[in-house]
Subunit: 453 residues, 2 copies
């Protein structure tokens, strides 16, 4: 029996896709990285499918690339030569949703926004909201420890995960964590899997924490600034005043220009940056006024404050246009450095200088409250991948961020894309430990080889 | 040269304490567990002391028991025969406190409350506040993932830790995490060390997250209930209404009786439970009134609401008396189960039934908002350790909690005390994984052997 026919025997013919047109469509995420050719794609429908696939893979030493929606920006789900892509997107059951315990138990293929909607039917919400929430899966969010717009107030995916069910490389099933908010029995294995980018095990179920949904729409402001430093000072003032914004985003002029060219938002000539902030507190409108005042005090010549849900949506809508506006300009390398909040203005200035020096278009948005910047490097649509000057500029951006005490990736992960910079951040002891841990869970190295560590 | 004289040579004579009177005083934590005899006690003053001690210990295969203040309730710092107790309590520097980044970098021996006070001088706070905060160290808090009264709103120690410096068993120095709020480069090693009870490495520095301190004193209520179910229903109502209490504690009648006998709080004959709740929000007094109303609606015949800081202190002061009041009755085994919040009333009822059946005095306080209960088993002061009926009752309490989807320990840790129940919660795959991870960090098994896993 061929290797593949053994897999078919362990699963069923419909669950082993080998038509190259089909397998190709599961080979990439949202990066331009050239994937290896998958042997097959397995769309798992049950935990048992995952167990059978991994047992088979262990027996035959076949690499397995776990996959959610393939919306990743780091190449974590990029297929490797001769692998099986194990996609979880069909496992979409919300097994339980308990308003009393504020907990949901879900399969990994549930779309992030679907869980949030299900929770809202009970007055609850699922807080982590990556901008990709309408397409990304919970499994992918867990495996990358996804952030989002609300995480300035509610934390990242890690902060909403209580427990996991994980299938290990050899098919053993591990349960981590618990259903309670607190618990310290044993090592924090839940945390270890979160952000491990499919290299330690395949998540087949998650117990997630829900939170009370705010009763009202978030009061929203948008403030224009004629200098980046002013905008950054306003961010610092908003945090220092204890406003606890539920969203605090910054857009640079290049981004605003791209949006303006597309949708005409009336961008002023002198505007260098825009801050968008929300408060979902009970006294949100009061907090919004206070944030608006702090923006004005820090030099904003113009601040809009929402007075209705529709106005709030319009103001925050500008932020939502950012990514598509840039994609109109060319292909995009979306980066993801994070720096201590106090370094935010310097980091943005460095990015501008680097862009100028290399003659590269870099448009930056930032989750300003967290110091997490997304410099987007725009390059010629005709190219298959970023040209050398883009990589040279990106390299400098990474080094600057690390030099400020920051990190290579705030929320997207290392994947395949950023492995060559990893050693700059993780010293040799860290690397030894990473590989030691990897061997505990995956001694044959079949799980997502070449990624993350 | 003898083994100890080699240690003296690597450190200095004042840093190697061998006088049995001295070493005995570092052999126990707050449990009654009989310690093994330490070979020596090393009060480290620098990271280099820790490195030298661990290199020496690795060379000579000497077990090392890391120790903070010894306030632990699980026997984590109980010394083992022939070990070196490596105490970090002299490393008390707050190396940095950055209001701009809301971050502190501290040595492990800093007393929890001292860090909080240092932060308050800048309008910030260190949120985790175990009841032991005036004696416990940050290192001990990290190693146990300590909880506290405020964690219903601000989370446990894990939620305030950004990065660590850890010395591994062989003396290598590992830096985990970062200074930024977000970051996903590599595995979550910070989380792995937190709660690992000194079995994976010795924490020599921590980068911690601070938060804005509330501007006002927390508005406080205390509500009496004639039934536990009513009190539990009030807890559920307070959470469901989105009140976000910054403290939500429940005391059972046995606890209240012990406090009343000591300090006369005017306990009514029919009172079965008391809820104490605080809100530190800007509109705290409004929230407190709402919580008071919810208590009344759920059957509380009497609710006190603070109208001044002093009154607030008096109301919450009752909770602070709980532990000492019980110690007046005899020796105490302080337990720490955690159940899903909806199971809280059932768990308390089970505890009462178990107490009656075994003829054991059990007084329970609960961090009610988190479902974390501390049933305190009181036994005869003449006994060196808990008598069999106390262990029999504790055994039933643990099993009940696990049966409800709960955990053996919400915040105190497994230590030595709860190892015999560990297998009930952690299945065989978890145990294999625990030991695999332990081997990565400590292949010779010299770090706190016999603890936690
Ligand atoms: C327009 C756009 C906006 C975005 N905005 C954000 C944002 O705001 N914040 C943010 O954090 N990210 C953002 N992203 C990136 C991406 O959406 C996230 O990384 C997301 O978490 C990936 O989920 P996915 O289901 O698509 O996972 P995939 O891309 O399929 O996989 C991501 C990684 O997870 C692993 N994986 C997937 N499922 C499992 C599983 N069940 N078990 C084990 N490993 C698994 C894969 O092997 C891979 O390493 C954005 C992407 C796009 C295209
Ligand atoms: C009256 C009282 C009230 C309490 N209330 C609470 C509470 O509300 N919440 C709560 O969670 N706990 C509480 N505790 C328990 C205890 O205070 C906590 O577990 C605390 O975190 C222990 O800190 P410590 O410095 O005393 O550590 P120790 O008791 O000395 O050690 C605890 C564990 O940490 C390890 N350790 C210590 N320092 C280090 C280090 N630097 N590196 C590596 N490992 C280390 C030890 O080996 C041991 O396993 C209470 C205890 C008492 C006596």
């Amino acid at each position: 029996m061929s290797v593949i026919s053994e897999l078919v025997a362990a699963l069923s013919p419909e669950k082993v896709l080998t038509d190259p047109d089909v397998t190709d469509s599961y080979a990439r995420d949202r990066t331009f990285l050239e994937p290896g050719r998958p042997l097959a794609v397995v769309p798992a429908e049950t935990r048992q499918d995952v167990v059978a696939t991994l047992r088979w893979a262990t027996e035959h030493r076949v690499p397995v690339v776990p996959r959610g929606a393939g919306s990743g920006l780091a190449g974590g789900a990029t297929s490797v030569e001769g692998c099986v892509v194990l996609t979880l997107h069909r496992m979409t059951a919300i097994r339980e949703l308990s308003p009393a315990d504020e907990v949901a138990v879900v399969e990994p293929g549930v779309i992030t926004a679907d869980l949030d909607r299900a929770a809202r039917a009970h007055g609850l919400m699922y807080a982590p909201d990556p901008s990709s929430h309408e397409i990304s899966t919970i499994g992918g969010n867990l495996a990358t420890n996804a952030g989002g717009l609300r995480c300035v107030k509610y934390g990242v995916t890690r902060d909403s995960a209580l427990g996991l069910e994980v299938v290990l490389a050899d098919g053993r099933v591990l349960e981590t964590g618990r259903r309670t908010v607190k618990g310290v029995t044993g090592y924090d294995l839940t945390g270890l899997f979160i952000g491990s980018e499919g290299t330690l095990g395949v998540i087949t179920s998650a117990t997630l924490r829900l939170r009370r949904a705010p009763a009202v729409y978030p009061a929203t402001i948008a403030a224009e600034f004629t200098s980046l430093r002013d905008a950054a000072a306003a961010v610092a003032a908003i945090i220092a005043a204890g406003c606890q914004p539920s969203l605090l985003e910054m857009l640079d002029r290049t981004t605003l220009k791209a949006i303006d060219d597309w949708r005409n938002i009336g961008l002023e000539a002198g505007t260098q940056a825009m801050l968008i902030a929300q408060s979902d507190a009970a006294d949100g409108p009061v907090v919004a006024e206070r944030m608006a005042r702090l923006c004005a005090e820090n030099g904003s010549p113009f601040v809009a404050v929402s007075s209705s849900e529709q106005e709030a949506e319009e103001l925050v809508g500008v932020r939502r246009l950012a990514y598509q506006a840039k994609e109109r300009l060319g292909k995009c390398l979306v980066e993801d450095v994070c720096v201590p909040r106090s370094a935010l203005p310097y980091m943005i200035e460095r990015i501008e200088a680097i862009a100028a020096r290399h003659g590269v278009l870099i448009a930056t948005v930032a989750h300003a409250g967290d110091g997490n910047l997304h410099p987007v490097f725009v390059f010629d649509r005709g190219l298959a991948e970023p040209p050398p000057q883009v990589w040279a500029a990106a390299d400098e951006v990474f080094r600057e961020a690390l030099g400020m005490g920051g990190t290579l990736t705030g929320e997207h992960g290392v994947g395949l894309l950023k492995r060559r910079w990893l050693a700059l951040e993780a010293g040799p002891v860290t690397e030894e430990v990473h590989h030691g841990i990897k061997r505990v869970f995956d001694p044959l190295g079949i799980l997502n080889p070449g990624k993350a560590i």
